[in-house]
Every structure is written in structure tokens, then in C-alpha cells.
Amino acid sequence: MMAYLIRRLFYAVPILLGVNILTFLLFFVVNTPDDMARMHVGRKHVTEQAITQWKVEHGYDKPLFYNRAEHGVSSLTDTIFFNKSLRMFALDFGASDDGRDIAREIKTRAGPSLAIAIPVFVLGLLVNVSFALMMVFFRATYLDRLGVVTAVVLMSISGLFYIIAGQYFFAKLWHLVPISGFAAGLDSWRFVLLPVLVSIVAGMGSGTRWYRSIFLEEMSKDYVRTARAKGLSEWRVLFRHVLQNGMIPILTGAVVVLPLLFMGSLLTESFFGIPGLGSYVIDAIQAQDFAIVRAMVFIGSVLYIFGLWLTDIAYAWADPRVRLS
């Protein structure tokens, strides 16, 4: 098992390299540093000089892959590919296009992102699993059908609507919580409450429905009939047998996104003015700051692969068939 996990970890290397090369191609080959400089310096009255100066300031004046001007190792290292792409493997993200250190920015912004993402993840899972179990318990009754219809309606509503409506009613009309903003420390709960609530409600439709179908599938298995034939009550069949088996796909499906919680939620953070990584990304997109976007792409893929690896561990932990073979 241990050997398997280590092997899986090595599997990450070619994938990260692929991500790295792909983003490099996208950002530097499809779109040349000249284009980028022209965009940032301004569209009108661009002089060659201004472009060159911008490139030098931001380190984009080097050749892409091979520097003929240098010798030895530095002919490979003193290039854009090495400086801007490969260095990310050492978690060296450099500075953003407006000159700030990306790594430090990320460190300070991870906290607020997690303050929203973790409660959403934990409470959301709890709420969705409980509703799904309820619906399965009352399966094929009107209660179940009502639940399914509600879930479909909930998931047909745009996430933007939940946010806007939530802000309008809870903050603007009823003044229960501030519309947006963030505070450090314990005081943050007032700012966190609404975004968390809105995110949970927005995810309830699809989550509940998905878990319900997993539980229903388990309900149709033979071992459930065996459990009933033992004289167990329906609740016990549901909680001891169905829940335990159903939690395997649910947990492992949830574990994949666990590391990605660091990335925060783009929409929620930007609407609620939370200084997390999600709003960082949005600001970068809107300011067309490719250095930040590149760094976040890299971090995102590292976290995704880490999530895949955690999934393997979760499987092994939850499923004896994987753990013991």
C-alpha cells in the first residue's frame, strides 16, 4: 500500500511538467511578451522604447528557451522558460506585473479564503448527506418527490442569484449582516456568516441529489436485503449498512476538492469583498495580470494532484477491499 502511494506521488511529476509547459506555451508563445507589454503600457502612443523598458523591468526581455548570449548552464537558465515557469517548482513565483511579491500575497490571502471555504465544505457535506439520507428513508413517498423537485429547482437557479438575493435581503433590507468586507480574528464571523450560508444553499440542490442517488444505488444492493433479513430496523439498515458503503464514493469525491479549498471561491469572495485568493484571481484577471494567473494555475494544479493523492489514501482508509489488498 505504502509503495503504491509513493508511486502515485511520483506520477504527479509528469503532470505538473505538462501543466507547466502548457501554460508556458499559452502565455509566452501564443501571446508574445511584446503583446503583453503593449497591452500594459497602453494602446496609443506606444514607443518601442517603452515596450522594451517594460519588458526589462518585468524580466520578459530574455529569450524563451535558449539564451545564445550566455554560456554553459546559464544559456538554459537565463531564459523566460526557466525563470518564469520552471522556478515555480521551487515555489518561487516572482513578482506580479504591478511589482508585488506573489508568494507573500498568497500567504496572507489564504486565511480569509479558508475562513469561508472550510465551513462551506464541512457544513455543506453534513447538510447534503442528512437531506439525502432523509429522502432515501422516505423514498417513493411524496416527501421524497418533493425533495427531488426542490433539489432540481435549487440547482436550476444561477449561483449569482443566490448571492445577489442574499445580499439584498439579509444585508441591505434587513441589516442583519454587513453587505461585504472582512475582519481578522474572531470578529470575522459577521462577515463570514452570509457568504457561507449562501454557498451552502447554492450547492444544496446538486449535492443532495447526487448523494441521494448514491444512497439509492446502495439500497438496491443484495447486502441490504441481507441486513433486513436479520431483522434490523430501517434506520439501522440505513445508518450502519447503507451510509457506510455510500460514504466511500462521497468521501473520496469530497477529498479531491479538499486541497482546492485553499483557492477559495471566485464568485463568493468577489461579491462579498473577502480578501482571499478567489478575489485575488478575479482582480488579476480583470487587471490582465498574467504573472498572477500563471502562479495560480500552477498552485491550482499542484493542489489538484495532491487531492488525487489524498483520494487514494481516503479510499484505502474507507474501503477494506483497497486497504488490505
Partner: protein, 666 residues
């Protein structure tokens, strides 16, 4: 008068629109086994589930009484019924693979019942669980309580199921096809276990099965079900001595047997009637050769004969009892020539245990490990063995669906395994395959004509479309299907009809050899007889050679001239059918034969012990030595060499070799 343990009276159960149980009444006596016999879809499992009130959600019990220990189970509130389930009535299901919860250890699953019904907790429950598991034959049970179901073989899982169903000290055990998913040697072990437990505990048992042999070994009383209704009830002896209902007679006649090798098997024409409407006459009338006008107008009532033997048939009322069903003319026998069509030498097929980038070449499963066999033109060779012995892999390697690791496969003098892609394409028409599951062997998205034409086009058998369809019409006639079936899709046919289509598909490219991979094991007995008869006819007509892969020794004996017995990747004994069936030498062959439930002799005493061993980790020396009653020191050292006993009979066993040497000295 003994009070019955369980008395079912006029039970009617519907599954959606289907009348799956339509007025069933019978009683199970204490200490006795009542066997409910019937083919698939006859409603026997639904009857069992109705007793437990564990029916699927679309099913409803419409009428009837189920009296058990002085109460009507159908009137009990759900909470009281839960005390009955697992407590007073235990139940075992057909599929041990899926019937246990995969994420709970077997100990937990047994303890759950003990806690629920016997208020045992912690230490006490664990000890009792270990005792129970030990009693059902799980070795070292106390240490293995924490084992998970996937770590056990099918037979062991079924033992755990039995332990679980016994944990509540039930007075009635319902066993729903408890051994159908198991191999024949394991089936014998489990049946013996069930018999022993029933005697020890004095339980009543309701045994549900489709297998006449199992009934003969286990039952005190027999009930035959057909299309949702009981058609005959009898004590075992009376039933096997003189079955009364025409359907029961047909079931007996459809069983392949040594004595009728040259005759056709009786088959029941037509299909089980649809259960979605009410019946007016006898439900067997359409398929009954004795049916007369009254049978179609009036449903027959029970006619009681001597000592509790009763059947529902108008013939019995008029006392014109048929003594036997007519068995059609003797079959035209295929004449095997002495020309060897297929010669397989040292065939080996190894599978790597891991695949992908990190495959380890040394960790392999030797599914087939040095198999030699040959088939004469027009001959049938049966390859017999239990699941996992590699017999299907041999078949696939011969048809070139599975690359061989080593060895030669000579068909008509051409080595198939050494051919290039193009040369192989030319040879493919000569050897074809028929598969086990008629539902997965036909592409549901193609019409029958497209299925049949595919090979003819791909292999260039007949390029002209007009002539092709002419050939196909003729072929459909030969396999007993109307030519209009060509335009239909596979899902419109029953299992037996689908198997006919699969046979026609293989024949369409005019092969010399057909590998039949358990073509009848997914079919009911009466349909099995149809397919076997068909194969015999076609073999004679086209001078075909058949490699008939099966786990069913009686079928092999009936159909084949020679039998090869396979165990863990190697052939351990081969000989003419008569030699193998009447004078088996290898202890494994003997065990296989002893394990087949018989209608005539009492239950076998010499059951082979132990579980089937995985091909991934075969023991050193002789593979069979762990289960062998004759194992000697030499058996652990090396695999026995082949020893020729007669012109056709050879065996690989140290014990036999030794015995022969001794006999030769004297």
C-alpha cells in the same frame, strides 16, 4: 397429527403487473425440508421473499395467509415482523458474493444478529460468533472474526451467510438457491453442512432450487412450481419414483444421462407463459403434449393420490396417467473420423498481476500452464473443470482471442499461434466460438441479420448479398427459428432463442471447429436440452468438431466422445467419456463425480475437502495435493507426469502411478 411449522395458504403476490405468485399453498413440517422446485421465473424466490416480507418495493402481497408458530405473518405489524426475521426465520440468499456487506468484517455481521435477537454483547457476542463460524466450517474462526468478505472464497462466504442466518436460533431456515453460484465440489460441502445443521438443530427448512439433484439429496417434501403456481406436491420418494404432472415428467426427461446417450433429450417446446393476465385453463397446456380441450378451458384442481402426493392435472382426474413422456427418435450420431483436426501442444497463457507502467514481469497468474489436447474431425471433446481452472482461457486461446504465452495450436496442420495478422484472418473462419451468456453475446443494437452477416462479410465467406440472405434463411431454419426473426433485434428473444442465434452466427462462416464455452449453463434445464439436441444435430449434419467447455459432468458425458478434466491450468485426466465417468482414476475426477447430486444414489459421503485454490498461488508439486485424500510426500515435490492407462485414457497423479506400478509388479 403434527402441526406444520409454516403453513402458506392461497398466497398471491404481484410484481407490478405480473402475477408472480398466484395462489400457492403448502406446509413445511418441523425437522423437515420442503424443496420448492422450479425454473427461473416460476415464482419460487418471490414465494420465499413473501414469507419474509422482504419483497422489492414494486411488489405487493394481495391475498393469502402465512401461518408460522401460530401467527399470520402477513398480519403482523412491521416491528413484530422484524423480530421474526433473523430470529425465528433465518434466510440464505443465492449470491454469497454480493449478499454480505463489503465494508463490515464477518465478525461484525454475525454479531449484529446476535445483538439484535439474543441480546448478546461484547465478549459474549464475539465468542458466540466464533463458535457459530467454527460450526459452519470456517477454520480458525476466532482469529478470523476481523476478516472482510472479499478475503474469503465464494464457498466460505456462503458459510458465513449460513452462520449469520443461524445466529438468531431460527426454527425455520429459508435457503434460496444456496449453492447455485458455487462450484460442484463446494456445493456438495455446503449441502452437507446444511443437512448436518438441520439435523443438529431440528430446524424446518424451505429449500428453493432449480436442480433436481439438489432436491433428491436434501428434500423430505417436494413442491414443483410452474408459472406462479404449484403443480405437484409429493414426498421425495414418491416424487422420484413416479412423478405425476406432465411438467415434472418433462423435467426428468430433459436431464442428460448416460443411459440415453444415443437418444434425444426431451425438451419442452415453447416458453413459460406471460404472467401479466389471468389464466383460464391449465398454464402448462400450451406446452403439454397430452393437453386436450378441457385443459385450455378449465384450470385443473388438485388431485390427491396416495400418501400426500398430489398434482394439478386433468389427466389425473380421468386416471389416464402418462407413464413417460415421449422421447423423440434416436439421434443421428456424428461419426468421428480418425483425422486429427486440432492439436494443442504445451499451451500456456500467463497474465501479469499488475498492468501499466510498473508491471512486474515475474508476478504472473499461470491461467493455463502446459495443456495438451487434440480433437478428431467430427468429434466432441468436453473440457471439464471448476471455475478458475483456466478452461475458458484455453478456449479463447484456441479461437485466438487470447494470445498464448507459449505452445502450438495446430488446426488442420496450420499453427494458428504463429500466424501473422493477415494469415490469421484467413484461418479465422475455421474456428468459431459460442459463449456462455446469451444476453451479452449479441450486440443489442444490431438486427439478427446484421449479426449473422458480419462474419460472412468480414471473412469473405459470401460476397453476394442475395445469396448471403438465402444462406441465412436456410441457417435460421436449421437452428429452429423462423426466417422473419432475421429482421428483429436480440432483446426480442428469450435466452434459448438467443443461444440459437449465437450458434447460427458461428455456423454462418462454415467453421470446422466450434468452441462452446458453457453454452447451456445460463439456461433452464428444459432449454438446455433443446440446445444440446440442436448441437448434436448440427454436428452430425456439418461434420463439426466441438470443444465443449463445461463444469457439468452429466452434460459432458451425454454430449462428448472424450472428456478432459482440468485443474488449476493443467489437464489432470483425459479419456473416453465412458472411462472418465465409469472408471475415473484421478482423485479430483472422482471427487467431481461424487459431488454431482444424483437422483438415484444417496448423498455422497466422500466429499472432497478444502476450498478451490487460486491460480495466482498454486502450491508446489501437485496442485491438487491440499485437497487430495491420497496425498503422499512425493506430491509436494513435483508435479506428476502424464501416465498412459489405455489408448485413450491418461492421468497425471503420483498415487495412480504408484498403484499401476504395484499392479504391474504383481
Amino acid at each position: 397429527m403434527i402441526v406444520p411449522l409454516l403453513r402458506i395458504d392461497g398466497l398471491h403476490t404481484r410484481l407490478g403487473e405480473l402475477r408472480v405468485v398466484d395462489g400457492v399453498s403448502f406446509s413445511v413440517m418441523p425437522h423437515q425440508t420442503f424443496a420448492l422446485l422450479g425454473e427461473s421465473g416460476s415464482g419460487k424466490s418471490m414465494t420465499a421473499l413473501s414469507i419474509m416480507r422482504l419483497l422489492p418495493e414494486v411488489a405487493r402481497i394481495q391475498a393469502g395467509r402465512i401461518d408460522f408458530n401460530g401467527r399470520d405473518l402477513l398480519k403482523l405489524p412491521e416491528s413484530a415482523m422484524r423480530d421474526v426475521r433473523g430470529g425465528e426465520i433465518g434466510m440464505i440468499f443465492q449470491e454469497p458474493m454480493t449478499s454480505l456487506n463489503p465494508v463490515l468484517s464477518i465478525g461484525e455481521q454475525v454479531i449484529e444478529t446476535l445483538t439484535r435477537h439474543r441480546r448478546l454483547h461484547k465478549r459474549g457476542a464475539r465468542e458466540e460468533a466464533a463458535t457459530l463460524l467454527q460450526a459452519v466450517g470456517l477454520p480458525d474462526a476466532a482469529k478470523r472474526l476481523n476478516v472482510y468478505p472479499f478475503q474469503l472464497s465464494g464457498g466460505m462466504k456462503q458459510r458465513v451467510m449460513i452462520a449469520m442466518s443461524l445466529a438468531g436460533n431460527p426454527s425455520l431456515l429459508i435457503a434460496d438457491e444456496p449453492t447455485t453460484a458455487l462450484d460442484v465440489t463446494i456445493q456438495a460441502q455446503v449441502l452437507a453442512l446444511l443437512r448436518r445443521i438441520q439435523q443438529q438443530r431440528g430446524m424446518g427448512m424451505l429449500l428453493i432450487t432449480h436442480d433436481l439433484g439438489v432436491v433428491a439429496e436434501m428434500a423430505d417434501q417436494v413442491g414443483v412450481m410452474y408459472a406462479g403456481e404449484l403443480v405437484e406436491i409429493a414426498p421425495r420418494a414418491a416424487f422420484f419414483d413416479h412423478p405425476q404432472h406432465p411438467y415434472s415428467l418433462k423435467l426428468f426427461a430433459a436431464l442428460p444421462d448416460r443411459t440415453q446417450r444415443d437418444a434425444r433429450l426431451a425438451n419442452i417446446v415453447g416458453n413459460v407463459p406471460a404472467l401479466d393476465s389471468e389464466f383460464i385453463g391449465c398454464r402448462f397446456a400450451e406446452r403439454c403434449e397430452f393437453a386436450f380441450s378441457r385443459c385450455r378451458e378449465e384450470s385443473p384442481g388438485w388431485t390427491t393420490l396416495a400418501d400426500g402426493h398430489a398434482a394439478r392435472c386433468h389427466l389425473l382426474e380421468t386416471a389416464a396417467v402418462p407413464k413417460s413422456v415421449s422421447v423423440a427418435q434416436t439421434i443421428q450420431l456424428a461419426v468421428a473420423s480418425d483425422k486429427v483436426l486440432l492439436q494443442v501442444t504445451d499451451l500456456a497463457v500467463h497474465f501479469p498481476l499488475h498492468s501499466g507502467l510498473w508491471a512486474n514481469r515475474r508476478n504472473v497468474i499461470k491461467a493455463v500452464d502446459g495443456v495438451n489436447l487434440h480433437i478428431y474431425q467430427g468429434e466432441t471433446l468436453a473440457l471439464v473443470g471448476e471455475s478458475g481452472c483456466g478452461k475458458t482461457t484455453v478456449g479463447k486461446a484456441i479461437v485466438q482471442l487470447q494470445p498464448a504465452t507459449a505452445g502450438r495450436i495446430l488446426l488442420d496442420g496450420v499453427d494458428l499461434s504463429a500466424l501473422g495478422k493477415r494469415q490469421l484472418h484467413q484461418q479465422r473462419a475455421y474456428v468459431q466460438m459460442i459463449f456462455q451468456d446469451p444476453f451479452s453475446s449479441l450486440n443489442p443494437h444490431l438486427r439478427v441479420i446484421d449479426l449473422l452477416e458480419e462474419g460472412m462479410i468480414a471473412l469473405g465467406v459470401e460476397q453476394n448479398a442475395g445469396r448471403r440472405s438465402q444462406i441465412l434463411v436456410g441457417l435460421m431454419d436449421q437452428v429452429g427459428l423462423p426466417s422473419r426473426a432475421l429482421q428483429r433485434y436480440p432483446h426480442e428473444f428469450s435466452g434459448g432463442q438467443r443461444q440459437r442465434i449465437a450458434i447460427a452466427r458461428a455456423l454462418a462462416v462454415q467453421p470446422k471447429l466450434i468452441v462452446c464455452d458453457e453454452p447451456t449453463s445460463a439456461l433452464d434445464v428444459s432449454v438446455q436440452a433443446q440446445i444440446i439436441n440442436l448441437l448434436k444435430d448440427l454436428q452430425a449434419e456439418f461434420n463439426l468438431s466441438l470443444l465443449f467447455i463445461t463444469h457439468n459432468l452429466p452434460v459432458a458425458d451425454y454430449l462428448a466422445q472424450r472428456i478432459a478434466v482440468m485443474y488449476l491450468g493443467r489437464i489432470v485426466e483425459t479419456g473416453s467419456s465412458e472411462e472418465i465417468i465409469t472408471r475415473p482414476r484421478h482423485p479430483y475426477t472422482q471427487a467431481l463425480l461424487a459431488a454431482v447430486p444424483s437422483l438415484t444414489r444417496p448423498a455422497a459421503a466422500n466429499i472432497v475437502n478444502g476450498d478451490i485454490i487460486s491460480a495466482a498461488h498454486p502450491p508446489d508439486g501437485c496442485h491438487f495435493r491440499m485437497r487430495c485424500p491420497l496425498a503422499m510426500p512425493i506430491c509436494t515435490e513435483r508435479y506428476p507426469d502424464e501416465m498412459q492407462l489405455s489408448g485413450t485414457h491418461s492421468v497425471r497423479c503420483h498415487a495412480v502411478a504408484q498403484a499401476e506400478r504395484v499392479a504391474g509388479l504383481n
